[in-house]
Symmetry: C3
């Protein structure tokens, strides 16, 4: 059985943003057990799972990925859309646009400290669409 | 319901190669909605989703990942298969060998600018096999 | 059809550890074809698929990821849990906590040289829990 729908996120500023609550409020009638796929339909953003308790982790994730994939590298050719664009593509592939989460007893079966994060890599990325697929 | 088969890709040279069309032409009778898993059965290649419009993005992806994981690092021990081998393993784990894509209205539900890429990290990687699993 | 259960791994030391055998011995009565999801319920560890033959690859993976995400970066803010903590979160997102593997003829359909690895990023990470979901 498949249940599939889109979640349209409001624009977020560049950085890592906890969206577990945003996802959960869109999930209705989850099965007893199954699997959930979150697929972000963009090439300059990503979805990741990380520490949900201390907001400093999200901040440091942004710091670390910006350092790992610097802007204004003279080796980039794809530069017409601005200095944040090509790095955003690279970060999107490094962190991934698709993640699967188990569903257990009708809820996302995340670890105690795990949350779902939108990774917004553009300075002005605008609204982002996540296709949610629940299978059971 | 599961439908599973292999796609044998022809040899590609080192770099990022758009294979959306190659995948699509092997997908027959996709369900109305479901999920597609692409699993590349190799440890020196990867599959990623990224910008499909400007070929410079694929080129810059290759540039960036080569810079991030340099060859000839004197710290590597696993060097017998050549300087491109150990970096290829590292890149494979960073970009991932397995990706899930939603199926909607009988097609891969990719974003407007999203394409599926083979990431070939070896200088002479040869033919690569992708196991495709469609579930619905 | 969904079959779901937890695997509790014993504590592993920091590094990459081949756990294919550990996973396999917990998989009973796999379907003819399907898909397997491994989801590690932690934010300072990951699961990856890589070369299973030469133990030097696992060692070099650890070397490379440690170099890519160094400890004691003065830019980190989240430092109270020790110098290995924030780098562990970053590595966890880079390598991913969730991986899907096809099942074919009742077995994980890994390539000849592919194995499943626990990536333990903490110095003393303790026991780790993997939620296994088999769907077919």
């Amino acid at each position: 059985m498949i249940n599939q729908f889109d979640i349209i996120l409001p624009p977020f500023k560049r950085g890592f943003h906890l969206i577990t609550g945003h996802i959960e409020k869109n999930l209705k009638d989850l099965p007893e057990s199954g699997l959930l796929n979150l697929f972000i339909k963009h090439t300059s953003a990503a979805i990741t799972i990380n520490e949900n308790a201390d907001p400093d982790v999200a901040r440091d994730m942004g710091y670390a990925i910006d350092k790992l994939v610097p802007e204004n590298d003279p080796g980039y050719i794809h530069t017409v859309e601005g200095p944040d664009d090509m790095p955003a593509h690279i970060k999107s592939s490094l962190l991934s646009v698709s993640v699967n989460i188990p569903i257990t007893r009708g809820r996302m079966n995340l670890g105690t400290w795990q949350g779902v994060f939108l990774c917004e890599f553009r300075n002005y990325g605008g609204s982002r669409t996540i296709c949610v697929t629940v299978y059971y």
